[in-house]
Symmetry: C2
Subunit: 194 residues, 2 copies
């Protein structure tokens, strides 16, 4: 049953992206190895040919998710004006768990609390995702000084991540919506040059 090198590489990739989706939607603790391997059309035992542990997979899946989410945002704003691009980023980010098909979710907002108890690899990867998002947002802020843009972008990312997390907790759809709407208004204020 040995597979060719390219097949094996494809399997590895499939495991990471399958795990990534499951983790973001159900949480790290709630998803077992059998769930992941089964969803990737494999059996449990094969996992350890590719990864040393669940912890390693968590780190890689988090990185994959962060990269995917950032790429999706970047793709949506090509050709838009700076102001419109910022609006698009914020709208997509805030709407990630409400409307869409749950592709490209942000690990920070979806499993942030769980990540903080993970090993250093996972936390480093998540922090890199955070920095990437801050960088992206900062590129579309209208302020002159770059440090000021980074500072504001950091605040905006905290607001977005917090709002999505809070909206995910709210059992009532109306409350979730108001949290997200208020975050959007808030961010609009932060994006202004006084």
């Amino acid at each position: 049953m040995r597979r060719s090198r390219s097949e094996a590489a494809a399997t590895r990739t499939r495991i990471v992206s399958t795990a990534s989706k499951l983790f973001l939607n159900k949480g790290l603790a709630a998803v077992g190895m059998r769930d992941i391997m089964g969803a990737a059309d494999l059996t449990q035992g094969g996992f350890y040919r590719h990864f040393e542990s669940k912890d390693q997979l968590i780190a890689e899946a988090t990185g994959e998710a962060a990269g995917r989410a950032l790429a999706a945002l970047r793709k949506q704003i090509v050709g838009e004006s700076k102001a419109k691009a910022l609006e698009t980023i914020v709208t997509i980010y805030l709407g990630q768990s409400q409307n869409r098909k749950k592709t490209s979710l942000c690990p920070i907002a979806m499993i942030g609390a769980e990540l903080s108890h993970c090993d250093e690899r996972a936390r480093n990867v998540a922090t890199l995702g955070y920095k990437g998002l801050v960088q992206l947002v900062s590129e579309y802020l209208p302020h002159q000084s770059e440090p000021e843009r980074i500072r504001r972008a950091s605040g905006i990312v905290s607001t977005m991540a917090g709002a999505v997390m809070l909206a995910n907790i709210a059992p009532d759809r109306g409350i979730a919506r108001s949290i997200l709407t208020n975050a959007k208004t808030t961010i609009r204020i932060l994006s202004r040059v006084e």
Copy 2:
């Protein structure tokens, strides 16, 4: 070994507050019944005289933590001016997992992602905590219109919760500090009347 009614009530309270501390510091999944009961100087079996399940305890512990955190904030600001009180609230909230002895942590920031996968009771309780915090913040904003204060307070709470969560993930103390500082600056902007 039967205990008097008041002893039993004290035991119940002790279980909830012990669980609350463990949950906030280590996460819901990482803390088992034996951990909780042991930390409360009891054995596992006694738990079910007081609670129907771990899920029920999670809901109650979340409520206890939220109430305790709110009460601690309210206590710190008595006698302060409106502007100073807001500053105090934000500073204490943002510093909750850095400096202090980890008493009265906010469940939303510490275990938010895990709460979103809990049952309705826990999520309702957490949402109530969120509303309480928004209410508290709104009381110290300088804006004329109450709806405007609530809207801004909601954004500020999202920012604070997101920043604390992000800072908890960051493996590097410096990054954590910059996230919190930027959140503080951000909130100062949001607290202004234009």
